[in-house]
Symmetry: C2
Subunit: 490 residues, 2 copies
């Protein structure tokens, strides 16, 4: 069916922008690099938030809120951290405007801050400065806080959801008495992310460790979930960091352990952002528009009446009332769209574009036959179903769709994960096929950077569950103990 | 009972600070004027958010998200608006730091923004700049958006929750085809706030209109809910603004109406903030600590075992398991605190301080008698209750407590609302009693400002439901058609 937007085949990047725009998800704002998240896009994010927030609380975490601003000097306390973030931050230098002589307003030079403030790009520094006052002894540990917040990283090239100057996210910041406990926490939260990605977003992910080069600025180890988009590029979907004692040392956060000795506190941090909305779109959507997994769809079922007369509409409305009630009682969101100003063909297109998982059409003939026509968004297939047991049928169908979307994405990833044993193979796959490439690497940052320079491919992840396999680095030929996952990435 | 904090009688202001600190609600951060909202304080805010968000959605609103930053020039487009907000805003002038020659980092002078950005103090300007692109015809209206966000107003004197440089809030921004529809919306949302204040916060509020002097910068009318704190000072708890066509004109937002004519769009905006947490504390809490209405309490019921031996604890634990499950099935939050490291007396104090509405104590004797001891936080009264039907008893008790807290606050307000017919009476009440004062006013801003200058009292609200009553202005003696509500305020 023809839609007035680009297909994936034609131009994947343009296709993505078209979907974001036409499905009313987000748009660029008047402020360079900042997006407006429109109600339909925000509703997807709200569903993500609700599911994640419950998972965080079920694993013992609580929410809190820390300041938007960070004193400039805080950034400098952790050496790697300032290197990673100072280059791209919004700096507040004044706290007042005043009337300008020529009309309008101007910065009031008398209201200059003694120390500049940075809009948080991430909150490790301000939070560890706070934790310093919360922690005296092992009895105060662990601290398991999460924060839902906006952050700003001054990006030069931005793309809606995927990379914006301001974005929304959650950042967990935990404090522990031992190294082991912090390691367990970092891994636990990575598993929460993987669980969320696979079971809510229907997006299969690889889990593992980042190479030192791709580590978070200030971390000892960065764990990540890594997904494959339909254009064969990888997307980092979430990270969980084992911070060691780096921030505790930077902010002098010590505690009295059970042995009555002073020690530095161990830390983790972990986050996912509105970038996940971009990942969701690029994982499942097609040339007809969005495809949303039922568990995150703002609207799961739409019912569209097909009628000519007001009497027919009324008969359909009556028939539908109890179905809607029954679906709602099963926590299935449903809308009966009887807007008379729009043709049913227009509605079909619109809900397809918006990725509503199940569309039900009912006309006078259907009423006579005690049936409806059901279209599922994932396969675009239609079938008829009896009104008897219809709510149960739809409930099952939604579960099927959720599973099918995941299976399809998993199949795509499997078909696009390849081994490369030589440099030629490696380059050939990158240039002609894309996807994840399992290849040997000699373990050095130099080689990793050389590969990136030559091919734009990076090490996405060193998988937790990768087998040991002796081999030779695809670039240098030096010995390697295992394959790592390369790809070009967002 | 002695607590190591100030009583209300001794020093109300210090009492407030002590409660906020000792009940672990919030603290000042390293950034001047910005607070850290600690997990327990944030949990109260989350409960407020959940209730309000549902009310907004039930009245047809959707959430969206707009940029944190506002171009300086946007502020100037609405004349009153810039007057109201330019004096107190965080200004971003640069987008990068660089390494300083002497170590540390400094602002990179080469990364100066062409136009400064303001951290939003409120979002009318950026939102109306966005709505311009969303609205062409009456078919695009109404737009009923809400945003949960952080905002910054550079306050010189700050107090935790009540007045901070950064605070969390929601801001609704709606666009309508007619003046009437916008007026209805502004009043509807004020009623939502009043409903929330009274039925969730158990805080009685007056509803009405602000005098022109106290209006939102850019509004044609500001409606408000106004509450009375225990020290006799008023607190503005929420506002809803009828903005007329001011922002539509400032941002040139026109639409084609049903008569096919171009007209400016009508607007409202409305907001409540984390200030409500401060209002909640000051409305109900006592010299023993927080008193929380059950509907907003993060923890509603705590069960504390009284035991000497591990066997006794085990017997209590078994008995309590099904009670906890039954309470949870009624959506009542409950915690069994069997922390062996803390004495039960310490726990009693702690949960009293934290305002947990119902405390249940169970010892071996109670088990024998198939009963428990129940203490309610609002009255500090204790009674015994049988295990038979205990969950139902607690459910009823929580409803009672919610109602009793409201009744108590209402009684306080009634006892502290007085009429003043002369200037002497007015000043006497202000200086010796406080509370709301119903008095005649000649309707001019000059008089209002003179009264404020002489007494620090302001017109809090011109009540919707006030009777017409001819009288003479307490200051000028000029004719007045009705009494308005004066008070000293937070």
């Amino acid at each position: 069916m023809a839609k007035d937007f680009t297909t994936r085949e034609e131009d994947y990047s343009k296709w993505y922008n078209d979907i974001v725009k036409k499905a009313d998800l987000a748009e660029n704002s008047a402020v360079r690099g900042c997006m407006v998240i429109k109600p339909y896009g925000y509703a997807i994010w709200e569903n993500m938030q609700a599911a994640l927030d419950k998972m965080f609380k079920d694993t013992g975490h609580v929410n809190a809120y820390f300041p938007l601003f960070i004193p400039k000097s805080f950034l400098c306390k952790e050496a790697d951290h300032v290197e990673g973030f100072a280059k791209e931050c919004a700096v507040i230098t004044h706290y007042r405007l005043k009337n300008a002589p020529n009309g309008g307003v101007m910065v009031d030079p008398e209201a200059k801050l003694e120390e500049e403030l940075i809009v948080r790009p991430t909150s490790e520094t301000i939070i560890w400065d706070t934790y310093k006052n919360w922690i005296q002894s092992y009895r105060d540990l662990p601290i398991l806080c999460n924060q839902w917040a906006n952050v700003v990283r001054w990006e030069m090239r931005t793309r809606l959801f995927l990379r914006t100057a301001e974005f929304l996210w959650q950042e967990g910041h935990t404090a522990h008495a031992t190294r082991e406990e912090a390691l367990i926490e970092a891994e636990k939260m990575l598993n929460v992310y993987a669980d969320f990605a696979e079971n809510f977003m229907a997006m299969p992910v690889l889990t593992g460790v980042k190479s030192p080069n791709e580590r978070f600025a200030g971390a000892e180890d960065t764990y990540c979930i890594e997904a494959l988009m339909q254009d064969g590029k990888a997307l980092q979907a979430g990270t969980s960091h084992f911070l060691g004692q780096n921030f505790a040392k930077a902010f002098d956060v010590k505690f009295l352990n059970k042995e009555n000795q002073l020690d530095y506190v161990w830390a983790t941090s972990w986050g996912v952002s509105t970038r996940l909305v971009g990942a969701l779109i690029m994982s499942h959507s097609d040339d007809h528009g969005l495809v949303l997994p039922p568990k995150l769809a703002p609207l799961q079922v739409v019912i569209i009446p097909i009628y000519k007369t007001e009497e027919q509409l009324q008969a359909i409305r009556e028939k539908v009332t109890s179905l809607s009630a029954e679906l709602k009682s099963k926590n299935i969101s449903v809308k009966f769209d009887d807007d008379d100003a729009k043709r049913s063909g227009w509605k079909f297109n619109e809900y397809e574009l918006k990725g509503v998982p199940v569309r039900i059409a009912i006309g006078p003939r259907d009423l006579e036959n005690n049936q409806v026509e059901i279209a599922r968004r994932d396969t675009l297939e239609k079938h008829t179903a009896s009104f008897d047991g219809l709510a149960n049928h739809i409930e099952t169908l939604l579960t099927d769709i959720q599973q099918n979307i995941f299976n399809k994405a998993l199949k795509f990833r499997e078909e696009n994960t390849r081994k490369a044993d030589t440099w030629e193979e490696f380059v050939d796959i990158l240039d002609n096929k894309g996807g994840f490439i399992l290849a040997h690497w000699d373990g050095t940052t130099e080689t990793e950077e050389l590969i990136k320079e030559k091919t734009k491919a990076t090490i996405r992840v060193i998988p937790f569950d990768g087998e040991k396999e002796e081999g030779k680095c695809i670039l240098t030929g030096k010995a390697s103990a295992r394959r790592v996952v390369f790809a070009r990435a967002y």
